[in-house]
């Protein structure tokens, strides 16, 4: 696959370790943009990042450990103290608010960005070890990703101009 590419093609690789709605954006925005700019992109999904490959995405926001999180609400910015996350339904409420904002502000959904990444021939690798650990099978995942491990990623990283850990 990559061997067919032109020798001067730029490459980017990414390790994606997080699976909340907010953390899903940076990798998919950068992957689709880099692909649009002619780069060859490899995404390595590991630990909680692996959930971003599931057929049905059910991504949530966590208010815990996110002190900088301020949501626009009633004309002001409301802080979400860590204590709020102890209230049942707090994360679900924050998720709903975030999804409404995303729609209202013309921000792409993760589903749309992921679909664009697949269509742009972004290479996706699902971490075999995490698949075992969390008891996932490739049937749980969208079409496109291949199974691989650290060596598969490292080989791509050595050939890449940009390597990111997200």
């Amino acid at each position: 696959m990559a061997e067919e590419s032109k020798p001067n093609t730029k490459r980017m690789s990414m390790i994606i370790t997080k699976g909340t709605l907010d953390w899903a954006y940076p990798p998919f925005i950068l992957a689709t943009t880099a692909a649009a700019m002619g780069l060859e992109v490899t995404m390595f999904f590991t630990f909680y990042g692996l959930t971003l490959l599931k057929k049905k995405l059910d991504l949530e926001i966590s208010t815990l450990g996110n002190p900088a999180m301020k949501m626009p609400m009633m004309g002001m910015h409301m802080v979400m103290p860590n204590l709020v996350s102890a209230i049942p339904g707090a994360d679900a409420m924050a998720t709903t608010m975030m999804k409404n904002l995303i729609k209202r502000k013309g921000v792409a959904s993760i589903e749309e960005l992921r679909q664009t990444a697949v269509e742009s021939d972004v290479k996706m690798i699902a971490c075999q070890m995490t698949m075992d650990l969390f008891e996932y099978t490739m049937d749980d995942m969208i079409d496109g990703p291949v199974l691989g491990g650290a060596a598969t990623y490292i080989e791509q990283a050595t050939k890449s101009d940009i390597n990111l850990f997200i």
């Binding site: 925005i29 943009t33 649009a36 700019m37 792409a108």
Partner: protein
Amino acid sequence: MADQVLDVKGLNCPLPIIRAKKALKDMRTGSTLQVLATDPGAVKDFEAFCRTTGNELVESKVEGKVYQFLIRRTG
């Protein structure tokens, strides 16, 4: 006059770039694409996009709240 017009008004990063790339892919070399956007970040983004992909940014201007880019597909 541009050969094709792409309206991405109301869309946020990275959609204007993604949609423009999709449109350019199906156009012949030498033809021009006009992009209409409302995302202020698109100004620097289309400059960077064109520099990196080798497409020519013929014009970049703003009229009211609408940013207009004229891109010629090259190569």
